[in-house]
């Protein structure tokens, strides 16, 4: 082992963080860039399903909350792109890869938001699942990513609570509103479980990621944690989770739950979900339509610095 490799391993063994100028193996760098970029893309694409409802939110209060939440997701994306750049990735290149479909984002955002209760259920379940995933990432071995996650996790708790509160309000409303909550719960429950990724037996990268202390728990462990948290929340809400095999297993100390439709997951990951094409096209249009702003700002900055130099 070379000195550099030894330093890398020693840092991991002591549970310390790796920082941008530390030597890391190529595989670690590639894995980390890919994971952070996909995470950033997910935050950015994740603005779309909820952004869909901003202009149609039923009250000024809900509109202000939703706007703030979607702004937060933009912020999360930017924190993460910034972390990816410390590993040598280029921001513009990452954006290109997203809009060229060369890098993925979380498959959950390829589902449509059909009624306003979807906004609540996304906050409750989708942000809830994201929190389950992200809390252990606050201890990830790569310092800038871990610090971005700490910042993000602090903000996520507002996301989950506003969603759950929205749903509680609807459950106190009319029968039609309660049906909307149930309909949204039915549609989002299974995709939320898929957010944790393929089952452990079918997740070839998990072992290496755990050895590098990027991941602290397997996909199935985190999924189980999420199910255990969600069942009492659904009960308190008065909504039914769409899984007849969901029941408490006293022996395991966990809820048992039904088989996930992994063929659906694979289809959505491959690009054949209900909204994949729409999401990427929208992101591409936003990027293309913003090109003149980026150029104009640069031209303005160049003109100003030229004037200042002339005056000096």
């Amino acid at each position: 082992m070379t000195d550099l490799q030894e330093h890398f391993q020693r840092t991991l063994d002591r549970d310390q963080r790796l920082e941008p100028r530390d030597w890391v193996p190529d595989g670690y760098r590639k894995t980390m860039i890919r994971q952070i970029a996909q995470h950033a893309h997910s935050e950015i694409i994740g603005m779309q399903p909820e952004g869909n409802w901003i202009t149609r939110a039923p009250s000024l209060r809900r509109k202000a909350i939703l706007l703030a939440k979607v702004q937060d997701e933009a912020g999360h994306g930017l924190y993460l792109y910034s972390a990816a750049e410390t590993l040598g990735a280029e921001r513009a290149e990452l954006t290109e890869k997203l809009i060229d479909g060369k890098q993925k984002y979380s498959s959950i955002f390829n589902y449509p938001t059909l009624n306003f209760a979807d906004v609540g259920v996304i906050g409750w379940l989708v942000d809830g699942a994201a929190i389950c995933n992200q809390v252990p990432l606050c201890r990830c071995s790569y310092g800038p990513y871990a610090r971005a996650m700490i910042r993000i996790c602090k903000e996520e708790s507002f996301h989950q609570r506003q969603g759950y509160e929205l749903l509680m309000t609807m459950m106190r409303g009319t029968d039609a509103q309660r049906r909307m909550v149930q309909d949204a719960t039915d549609r989002w429950w299974w995709p939320s479980l898929m957010m944790f990724g393929p089952p452990d037996g079918d997740s070839p990268n998990t072992e290496q990621s755990m050895a590098w202390k990027i991941k602290r728990h397997t996909n199935d462990e985190l999924r189980q944690r999420f199910v255990d948290m969600s069942v009492p929340q659904a009960e308190a809400l008065g909504a039914t989770l769409p899984d007849p095999s969901l029941c408490w297993n006293a022996e395991r100390g966990h809820y048992d739950f039904g088989e996930i439709d992994w063929s659906e997951f694979k289809q959505v990951v491959r690009g054949n979900g209900p909204c994949n094409a729409q999401r990427v096209a929208h992101r591409r249009a936003a990027h293309d339509n913003g090109a003149w702003v980026r150029e104009a700002a640069l031209a303005h900055a160049a003109k100003h610095s030229a004037r200042e130099e002339a005056a000096a």
């Binding site: 941008p20 100028r21 924190y79 280029e90 921001r91 513009a92 903000e155 700002a297 900055a301």
Partner: protein, 94 residues
């Protein structure tokens, strides 16, 4: 002209009496825009009372490794620490 806005590093002072702390980076066309973006991105919840932005290319950095030879000169100067000195327990206020 490069197509990318330059990278800025962002430092935020959480409240009066605290140091500015590095929080991350962002891209901006110029210093003023960097400040505005830093406010919008890193202080959405009153996280700061003051922001510094500096072009990443203007930062000169040591390696973060605390075992770096760069820091060796202070490594063997134990006499800079108060615990280096033996003072009897019965000497007051020391």
């Amino acid at each position: 002209m490069s197509h990318d806005w330059p990278l800025y590093e962002v430092f935020v002072r959480g409240k009066r009496g605290l140091n500015h702390v590095h929080v991350g980076s962002l891209h901006a066309a110029d210093d003023q825009m960097a400040l505005h973006h830093a406010r919008d991105l890193y202080t959405r919840r009153n996280e700061g009372v003051s922001i510094w932005v500096v072009k990443a290319t203007d930062i000169t950095a040591s390696s973060p490794d605390e075992k770096d030879p760069f820091f060796a000169p202070s490594g063997d100067k134990v006499y800079r620490h108060p615990t280096f000195y033996d003072i009897p327990d019965d000497v007051p206020h020391m």
